[in-house]
């Protein structure tokens, strides 16, 4: 491109292009995201968690499970930065390995809920009629179990394990996703653009994925970040009381539980994993709050 041709595009054209650019929803959201401190802090913490989950095992100075009886109950210091537990295991290494489990709990449960909820919501909203009535009643029954109780019931059936808890946490959130999707499918179904797509012979599946689903992306992102945080908390809580991760797995709630009886002599076993849960759940929650402000300005107070 030669210089004169650039000068030929008038300033007004440039302004129009610029205005267009900032007016696209994506650019607008991105701008608001960058300007929101809670979004930045929240996503930084989430990013840190993901980095720890991927590289934690490489960064960990010690084996998280190996028993070293000579090194029992060493206080935090130069040798072990977060101290050791009753088996002489390095708490810092255990927490680093635990990051991977934490991400697994949050991510897998959200994906399960996401996929299940979208499927049920799309079917219910798109087909309507008796399919919708049956599914809606089913979801209502599903939702009528108090949250923890639902997870507890699934654990009771399948037996205590981390995978059971993850699955249960995912299933727990399916109705929340399904409701959002169903509601917006119902309203989108009547839109002219969907009718237009249908009249030119676009298939049902394609209409759902290309014309209806994009409408629900924002509320689903917000919901997912909230559920990610609560899955971390509930998962750790259930592991803490012995219904989730089993020893010697370095799950944060399980580490806390192990340190409980040694609180008098070795409080560091309980302090650090709790701090890890608190910091990263805080990060995810901040991101959730921030995203809600960014994506749904109507809710901003």
């Amino acid at each position: 491109m030669s210089a004169p041709s650039i000068s030929l595009t008038t300033t007004s054209e440039k302004h129009a292009a610029l205005a267009q650019e900032t007016r696209t929803p994506r650019a607008m959201y991105w701008k608001r995201f960058r300007q929101s401190p809670i979004c930045i802090i929240g996503s930084a913490l989430l990013l840190l968690l993901v980095i720890l989950a991927i590289f934690g095992p490489l960064l960990a100075p010690n084996d998280p499970i190996l028993v070293k009886t000579a090194d029992r109950f060493i206080a935090p210091g130069s040798q072990y930065i977060f101290g050791t537990d009753e088996f002489g295991r390095d708490i810092f290494s255990r927490i680093l390995y635990g990051a991977r489990i934490a991400v697994q709990v949050g991510l897998v449960s959200v994906v399960v809920a996401f996929v299940g909820g979208i499927a049920l919501g799309l079917i219910s909203g798109y087909y309507g009629g008796w399919v919708d009535t049956v599914l809606s009643r089913l979801l209502e029954i599903w939702l009528s179990f108090p949250d923890i109780l639902f997870v507890i019931a699934v654990v009771a059936i399948l037996g205590p394990s981390l995978n059971t808890v993850i699955l249960a946490l995912g299933f727990l959130s399916i109705p929340a996703y399904a409701r959002i999707v169903r509601g917006s499918v119902m309203s989108a179904r009547e839109e002219t653009y969907v009718e237009a797509a249908r009249s030119v012979g676009v298939s049902n599946g394609r209409i759902m994925s290309r014309h209806i689903l994009p409408n629900v992306v924002a509320p689903l992102i917000i919901l997912s970040s909230m559920r990610f945080g609560s899955a971390l908390l509930t998962g750790a809580g259930l592991s803490f009381i012995g219904l989730g991760a089993q020893p010697p797995e370095p799950e944060w709630g399980a580490i806390l539980a192990g340190g409980r009886i040694y609180m008098y002599q070795a409080p560091w076993i309980t302090v650090f994993p709790g701090l890890a849960i608190a910091i990263f759940v805080l990060g995810v929650n901040m991101l959730g709050d921030g995203l809600r402000d960014v994506l749904d300005p109507r809710l901003t107070k």
Partner: protein, 307 residues
Amino acid sequence: MASYIINRILQSFIVLIGVSIAVAAMTQFVPGDPAVAILGETASPQAIAQLRDEMGLDDPFFVQYGRFVERLITEGSLGKSIRTNREVLTEITDRLPYTLYLTFGAVALASGVGIASGVLAAVRRGKPADIAVLIGTTAGLSVPSFWVALLMIWLFSIKLGWLPVAGAGSWKHLVMPILTLALPSIATKSRLTRSAMLESLGQDYVRTSRAKGLAERKVVLVHALRNALLPVMTIIGLQFGALLGGAFITEVIFGWPGVGQLAVNSILQRDFPVVQGTVLLVTVSFIVTNLIVDIAYAWADPRIRYS
């Protein structure tokens, strides 16, 4: 109003039936043979077959469900605990009062502190008090309450010796469990009250009361708060049920002899009838609480009935 209530009761009734089917069906999904679970791996095949027959495990699910309902209605029985051989219902009702102490205590504390801090934050919007409440509620929703419980035990029981570590018996035993249980719900209530208050403070009737020279205190506490409390009321109802179920972790930490601890122990010891009974009972109370809240809401806010 009457038709709304009848409608709502019918709806809850259908959900109740669905819940009871779901709970009864839990047995169907348990891997392994319940008869083996009761008699142990070493039992003879004859004994197992006989017990399966007695328990009706070979019948189709709906026959089993029918029996479950019939026994519940005619005998008021949810079956017997495998571990203690006592009625599941007595096992639960023995412990229910303890869980209710915690739940009522936590609801009262969370409502008081949550609503007060929410109103404060709304009135001082953008000021340091609002930011302090925001930080507090964010922390309340992020910090694991079981961790706070342990830190409290460390401080109040181990270091200061003020409160007992675990068990039940005096008011002192209640302090830490109630605080633990109330912590996250203080945060939710505070946030909800804040946003409801901000909304009602922006309404015309609030401006009118200000314009006619009403004291600001009265405007906030009488006119704005009264309307802001409606959505908060729904959340209190929802949380009451959630707390009933959510007392699990708290009860285990503090060795509190409530329903939650019973359920967790029963899961760990594979005492399935007790787990089923707990799930059913807590869920039913959750549904009934929500029904009551909805009716109260419709009574307080006529717009609900007609929508």
